[in-house]
């Protein structure tokens, strides 16, 4: 589904990603872990199409297409979803209008008619139940005045509405208490299918108690220095990133 080959990314002459290689198949959950500043969020942003970065080398192939040539909205319509680490507040744009526009753009892309209002409301109700989001959030402006937890849950709700093929969740667990964390993880697990894939980016192992990854990768100084199964996350939690630092330097 997704192949990242030798990806080099810089911002203002500072090299951030220094040769990432990653292969994600459908039906899989991948976790990317790593200390602050290792390039995790940059990777997520580059996948979603943020144009703040220079791609100096490498390629990303998604469903056989060159992802780097696609605008962010095209990527979204092709099934890529980024759960933001810091969801943006957009006063004056109602959640309803925002979601309706997004869903209908996606439908247009698939050659479908815009959704009828009644069907749309029904779908919203179902998805709200699925991810256990507070129902009055959708009556407000996008993320405006939402608490940290509400913002993250809102990301998962949007993910449910858009039904993506590849979700990238950027530190969705940061700033969440354990109850909110469970709700978010629960949502992700419910949305998982054999047809889609998820990349979970996290600093801590605790989210992985609730979302069981098929593969765990450790990103360190712009490179994936270690990959393994879910046990790698536990090992990391025990030994800390210092362990890897030493191992990498020794290597």
């Amino acid at each position: 589904m997704l192949t990242i080959k030798n990806l080099h990314v810089s911002i203002e002459d500072k090299q951030i990603l220094k040769g990432i290689n990653l292969e994600v198949q459908k039906g899989e959950i991948h976790a990317i872990m790593g200390p602050n500043g290792s390039g995790k969020s940059t990777l997520a942003s580059v996948l979603a199409g943020r144009n703040l970065f220079n791609i100096t080398e490498g390629e990303i192939i998604y469903e056989g297409k060159n992802l780097l040539e696609m605008a962010p909205e095209e990527r979204a319509r092709e099934g890529i979803f980024l759960g933001f680490q810091y969801p943006v507040e957009i006063p004056g744009v109602s959640m309803m209008n925002f979601l309706k526009t997004a869903v209908n753009e996606q439908r247009k892309h698939r050659g479908l008619e815009p959704m009828k209002s009644s069907d749309f409301l029904k779908m919203m109700r179902e998805k709200k139940d699925l991810v256990e989001i507070d129902s009055n959030l959708t009556n407000r402006s996008v993320n405006e005045g939402f608490s940290g937890g509400e913002k993250k849950r809102n990301e998962i709700f949007q993910m449910a509405m858009l039904d993506p093929r590849l979700s990238i969740l950027d530190e969705t667990d940061s700033g969440l208490d354990i109850d909110a964390l469970k709700i978010v993880a629960h949502g992700v697990n419910k949305l998982k299918s054999s047809e889609n894939a998820t990349i979970v980016i996290t600093h801590y192992q605790r989210l992985l108690n609730y979302i069981i990854p098929d593969r765990v990768h450790v990103l360190y100084d712009g490179q994936i220095v270690k990959s393994g199964n879910k046990d790698l996350a536990i090992e990391l939690e025990d030994k800390g990133y210092d362990w890897l630092r030493k191992e990498t330097q020794a290597g």
Binding site: E73, G92, V93, E105
Partner: protein
């Protein structure tokens, strides 16, 4: 009847025209109005048409607009047109008392009922001057500054007609009054109409003003509106400016608020060549509430300049100015807002903000907020921003599959909503939302036809 472009100074030209035609100008009007002319024309000769050397007009030079050759309508020009061909109400459920000004003159045929059963009067300034001399005597030219403001003085010297609204004590208007200013002629025209609105103690009214050009010729408007809001009076004043690129519109609004009164004014400038909106607001009593809001959407070579002078003369009043604009292409704009808090005006709350979105590198906005405070126990703030659409917000929307153009529109629309949401006449608010969206989509680039289509209740 036209003032021909000559090499002599503009102000002398207007003065000469005044002296030559003053008997026609004075004809049919009582002293209540005519008594102000001589002083006004002299004040105009003193002050002239402001140019960029005048601090408050630093960003807008009006002289070129005045130098053109216009017909001035010192007598109403008979223009044959079938009003019903032009207007069909396009605002569902907008039920209003419609009054029409054609090139600044009250259009009698459109106003069947001038006095409502509850004593509310909606008529022409001419008629009011003769029928209600005591009201004219008490209020006419009492709030407008015909001494120091050249343009206001010019209007006072020439004004012959306009709209007069009177709401008696304790009465509420059953529905909004809608004043439609139409400019229509095959040759360039200049209108200097004069409106007077008197709201007695405890009265309530909503007034909508729509400005339209209906033909392609060059137009210049220099209008003055005086509003007196008596003690505990409530008023909503909404103005929609929609004129073509060859028009210059100067509107001078003078509002005097007595204690406990509450006035919201909302100016939506959808289109216009050059617009200068002056707001002179005086909170002349305790516990007044004022909101002065403006939204302007400009593109190409359009220019809009808003000037606000908010005078807090007494304690415990609150005022809030918010002006927002979206400037596209090489459009230019200016905002100059001044809050004056006098020494006695303790516990004043006065806020002012001017926010702009510049869609191109060539669009330009000059924003100059000013505070002048002589009281020591007040809450005041002012600020201005000019910038592009928020890049983070744009990316967020696009990352959900919304195309760039649509995402930009959503953000601009949201930006405008803060002002439009304050229009307290729901069908009008809905319609303005629609027009704003169309305007932002670039679907309303031409404007010689009325976009409101609401002068007639054809469909209702």
């Amino acid at each position: 009847m036209s003032i021909h472009a000559q090499s002599i100074d503009l102000k002398d030209r207007f003065a000469a025209f005044f002296y030559k035609h003053q008997s026609t100008i004075r004809e049919g009007l009582p002293e209540g109005i005519n008594q102000h002319r001589q002083v006004a024309i002299e004040a105009f000769q003193q002050n002239g048409i402001p140019d960029r050397n005048v601090e408050d007009y630093k960003y807008t030079d009006l002289n070129p607009a005045f130098e053109k050759d216009y017909r001035t309508y010192i007598r109403p020009k008979q223009i044959d047109f079938n009003l019903n061909d032009i207007f069909h109400c396009d605002v569902p459920a907008l039920d209003t008392h419609v009054v029409l000004l054609l090139n600044g003159w009250f259009y009698e045929k459109k106003t069947p009922q001038k006095k409502l059963p509850n004593g509310v009067i909606i008529t022409s300034l001419r008629e009011a001057a003769n029928e209600y001399p005591e009201v004219i005597q008490k209020h006419y030219n009492q709030y407008a500054d015909s001494k120091n403001q050249g343009l206001t003085a010019l209007n006072t010297a020439f004004a012959q007609d306009g709209v007069f609204i009177y709401v008696p004590r304790g009465k509420a208007m059953d529905k909004p009054v809608q004043i439609i200013n139409l400019l229509m002629d095959e040759e360039p025209g200049m209108s200097q109409h004069r409106n007077l609105m008197v709201m007695e103690e405890g009265s309530q009214a909503k007034v909508i003003v729509c400005d339209h050009t209906l033909s392609q010729s060059t137009f210049l408007t220099n209008s003055v509106t005086e509003i007196y809001a008596g003690q505990n009076a409530h008023m909503d004043f909404v103005r929609i400016q929609n004129e073509h690129n060859d028009s210059t519109q100067i509107s001078n609004l003078y509002l005097n608020q007595e204690r406990d009164s509450n006035v919201t004014s909302n100016t939506i400038s959808l289109h216009g060549g050059l617009i200068r909106n002056n707001y002179y607001l005086r909170l002349n009593g305790e516990n007044c509430e004022n909101k002065t809001l403006g939204l302007y959407l400009t593109d190409r070579g359009q220019h809009i300049d808003s000037y606000v002078h908010m005078d807090h003369a007494h304690p415990h009043s609150r005022s809030n100015q918010l002006f927002k604009g979206v400037l596209d292409d090489y459009a230019t704009g200016a905002f100059n807002g001044r809050i004056l808090v006098r020494q006695d005006a303790q516990k004043t709350e006065a806020y002012q903000a001017n926010n702009n979105i510049l869609l191109t590198d060539d669009a330009k906005m000059n924003s100059k907020p000013q505070l002048e405070i002589y009281a020591d126990d007040v809450k005041c703030s002012h600020g201005g921003t000019s910038g592009q659409l928020n890049g983070d917000a744009l990316f967020y929307l696009r990352s959900r599959g919304i195309p760039l153009k649509e995402a930009q529109l959503l953000l601009m629309y949201a930006f405008a909503h803060e002002i439009i949401g304050e229009i307290h006449i729901q069908p009008l608010q809905d319609r303005i939302h629609e027009l704003t969206e169309k305007r932002l989509r670039g679907e309303l680039t031409r404007c010689n036809y009325c976009q409101m289509h609401c002068g007639d209740s054809g469909k209702n």
